[in-house]
């Protein structure tokens, strides 16, 4: 039989691709099915948030922060609002703090539902996607009742929140928590998590060692999947997160190796339980009172100075570095999106020599990126 000629192939994955979770391009050099090395190219969704923020005043920047991580917009709003409040040393009313925590945790559940559904769909499981979206729809209806928007809320602003959370909405949220946990989460585990095909595609794939993860700046569920119990809600709590009792979910190599795709996926599914716990505690303890600082809502003028503030978003550490020159417009806002660092680890994971082209889809899905905050 004549010698079969083999050669390396240069494949282009994206920027238009159903599994890259946005406009993301990876150039892959393959030897048949095995990936030899990959090179990521980002910047297809660069919308110049930082340049725009220099020309708008502090209130006008808020809608731009929504659109960075558009699946967990409340966390971005919260990060920006708390950064400005930290520089101004502004105290937000108590009720506003509780409302902020409730909506951020609900948004985290919605974001993880999206991650759960689309990850199953990436690997070929079509049904869990619709189940996840059925429940996500309930959350989006609650948000629409609350602030009029389903996805890019601009609800949390410097000084408080825009609209009050009425008793009717609180009752809706309680009803959602009753419905969601524990029955629905058990349903998700039955549908997807312990499915044999899913395990064989996700376990032992894309193993992320701890030192590599921290060196690449990976944070959030992707880092917790590797066994590191780092959660900014516990380590550096801002606002009132230290009043709530919840656990930090960490991957343990249940189905394969610690830090594989299955671990990262399971951390997200389990975190939804913890978020429901926090929401229930917040609903129980929420005080009455004002929900915003009316003077701050009319416009803020922070003193001259610089500050860096970070919170735990759905995908990791959302950070804002703010430089103020004492006017109504910020001098420089640098946004640190967690997906920017999370996706940079892809090139290191695929160059180990044991990654197949199909595994690349599994790894990108398990890192749960949103290109809006990679490119800003």
């Amino acid at each position: 039989m004549p010698e079969v000629k083999t050669e390396e192939m240069l494949l282009n994955m994206g920027p238009q691709h159903p599994s890259t979770h946005g406009v993301f391009r990876v150039v892959i050099r393959t030897d048949g099915e095995m990936v030899l090395e990959s090179e990521s190219h980002i910047g297809y969704l660069h919308r110049c948030f930082e340049k725009v923020a220099e020309n708008n005043n502090y209130l006008q920047v808020v809608p731009y922060t929504d659109r960075m991580d558009y699946l967990c917009a409340m966390a971005n709003n919260l990060g920006y609002a708390q950064t400005v409040e930290k520089l101004m040393k502004l105290q937000v009313p108590e009720r506003a703090e509780y409302i902020r925590v409730i909506v951020t945790e609900l948004n985290r559940i919605a974001s993880h539902l999206m991650a759960f559904g689309t990850y199953g769909m990436d690997l070929g499981a079509m049904t869990p996607f619709l189940y996840a979206f059925r429940d996500r729809e309930m959350l989006l209806k609650i948000f629409e009742k609350l602030c009029g928007q389903r996805l890019n809320y601009s609800y949390i602003r410097v000084g408080g929140v825009t609209f009050d959370m009425t008793d009717e909405i609180l009752a809706d949220i309680e009803r959602f928590c009753e419905y969601f946990e524990p029955d629905i989460l058990k349903e998700y585990n039955d549908l997807l998590s312990y499915n044999g095909i899913f395990i064989s595609r996700a376990a032992n794939v894309g193993v992320l060692p701890v030192d590599l993860a921290i060196s690449y700046g990976v944070t959030g569920p992707s880092l917790r999947g590797s066994g590191v119990a780092r959660d900014l809600r516990k380590d550096e709590p801002s606002s009132i997160y230290d009043r709530f009792d919840f656990d930090v979910m960490v991957g343990s190599g249940e189905m394969g190796t610690v830090g594989d795709c299955w671990d990262r996926y399971m951390v997200r599914v389990r975190e939804m339980t913890e978020s429901v716990k926090i929401v229930r505690q917040a609903i129980r303890d929420i005080p009455s009172g004002p929900f915003c600082d009316k003077k701050a809502f009319r416009g803020v003028k922070p003193p001259k100075g610089e500050v860096y503030h970070k919170i735990e978003g759905a995908r990791g550490e959302v950070g804002f570095y703010l430089v103020s020159d004492g006017t109504v417009k910020p001098y420089r806002v640098k946004a640190r999106g967690p997906s920017f660092c999370n996706i940079s680890v892809l090139d290191a994971l695929t160059s180990k020599g044991d990654c197949m082209v199909a595994d690349m889809v599994a790894i990108i899905g398990s890192l749960d990126i949103v290109m809006g905050e990679v490119d800003r």
Binding site: I42, G43, H46, C48, E50, K51, K86, L87, K89, L212, I214, S215, Y216, G217, T219, V228, R230, D235, E236, G305, E306, V307, Y308, K310, E317, G319, Y321, V323, Y331, R332, K334, R336, F340, C341, S344, A348, D375, R376
Partner: protein, 162 residues
């Protein structure tokens, strides 16, 4: 819980006594300003010293100050085991901003430095692949500088000004 900012600044000043130019201890977020030439050694020290253990580089951001004729590059460091943080700044001349890369210390600096180069024009010496990351590879100009003027056309596509 980790060390306070003042204690961290003290440890750094002991090792790099004549390179710490300024220490803002009572700002909202205390920071230190160091000479640009020492940033790589300082990075290794911050990461490896057992009292500090800054293993996570949160972000590198650059700020353009045309009135002072400088560009500042700010490194926000964090420590996962000790849960304390540090902000280090270097001040570079605006007409030729160059500083050593720290990508060998923290691998995440690779992309952060590429972004600072792309948007502000800071050259990181020793970086293995300093090309644009967010803008197109053949873009001209550094967008985040205060005196940046949008080009009239890009590859034949006209710029629309409203």
């Amino acid at each position: 819980m980790g060390l306070e900012s003042a204690q961290i600044h003290q440890i750094v000043k002991e090792k790099f006594a004549d390179s710490v130019l300024e220490e803002a201890a009572d700002a909202v977020d205390p920071f230190i300003v160091v000479k640009p030439g020492v940033i790589e050694d300082l990075a290794y020290f911050c990461r490896d010293d057992t009292r500090l253990e800054f293993d996570l580089l949160s972000c590198i951001s650059g700020v353009d100050y045309p009135e002072r004729n400088v560009i500042e590059v700010i490194y926000c460091l964090d420590s996962t085991p000790n849960k304390h943080w540090l902000i280090v700044k270097v001040v570079l001349p605006r007409d030729n901003p160059r500083v050593r890369t720290v990508e060998n210390v923290w691998r995440t600096a690779d992309w952060h430095e590429r972004e600072t180069y792309d948007l502000l024009g800071v050259t990181f010496e020793g970086h293995h692949n300093l090309i644009r990351i967010l803008c197109a590879e053949d873009w001209v100009g550094y967008p985040l500088r205060r005196d940046y003027v949008m080009p009239e056309t890009y590859r034949g596509i006209r710029n629309v000004v409203y």
